[in-house]
Subunit: 124 residues, 2 copies
DNA sequence: GCTTGACCTGGAGTGCATTCCAGGTGCCAA
DNA sequence: TTGGCACCTGGAATGCACTCCAGGTCAAGC
């Protein structure tokens, strides 16, 4: 029998709330989650694995709509791997650009900090 | 006579819409902007300078509320420089952390990409 | 048997940052 | 004098990603 995780366990593991977890499922970001006889969700290893990637993509600002596309491809099976690859590489590139932009902006901010420190230094 | 910029010029320069520009002003992110006799805004060099920093901070995800605090300090004069410095250094640090997080997540994504590429390679 | 805690549902509500709109003014060029 | 364009106002609407709620179920422990 496959190991399964409760909603509480999964939520704690990924730092998500139960509401967010359910929301992701409703939005189609996860493949259909199995249920215990009681009706409670039971997450399998494959769910957790996908959620790990989803969290990764979400934390790097991939929009929900794009994540849904990705999850749909996952549901369609291995033949969609080229499409998934395209989504991931595009996101990877966007991420590289975003990081570069943040660093550029950070430099400007650091210059401003240095300027303010200079003003304070003179005043002494 | 001081050079002044029209709303259209400023919006184009910073890649903002006129609506956003007005919104920032309403929210107190800019110091009071002067008007031409017609009622139209005339941005002075100091407005543009502040807006440049605001844009930098906004583009690095500083929330509007925090930006308002900062702009209020600017309006209160030079004695608030230590407070402004505190806001900027805190943000600078948050930014460093954010960049580190993005890079970490990016690595995971790149591993996934490599994995998918491996799968496709084998299939040939 | 009864409470407690974890979970369930559908749907409403929230917060943030814009973005849009309707109805107006001022000024320049044809 | 008539467009057309850039701009003005207050206020409403939008999009996104949650987050909350009311009213219920289920299994375990006292």
């Amino acid at each position: 029998m496959e190991t399964a995780y409760t909603p509480g366990e999964v939520a704690a593991r990924f730092g998500l709330t139960l509401d967010t977890l359910r929301y992701y499922e409703r939005e189609g970001l996860l493949t259909e989650v199995e249920r215990a006889p009681s009706g409670h969700r039971r997450y399998r290893a494959s769910d957790v694995e996908l959620l790990d990637l989803v969290r990764c993509l979400r934390d790097t600002d991939m929009p929900i709509a794009r994540l849904r596309e990705f999850a749909e491809l996952v549901r369609e099976g291995d033949r969609t791997i080229p499409d998934r690859l395209e989504i991931l590489t595009a996101h990877d590139q966007a991420l590289t650009e975003r990081i570069a932009e943040l660093r550029l902006r950070q430099e400007v901010i650091q210059h401003k900090i240095a300027y303010y420190e200079g003003v304070l230094g003179e005043a002494e």
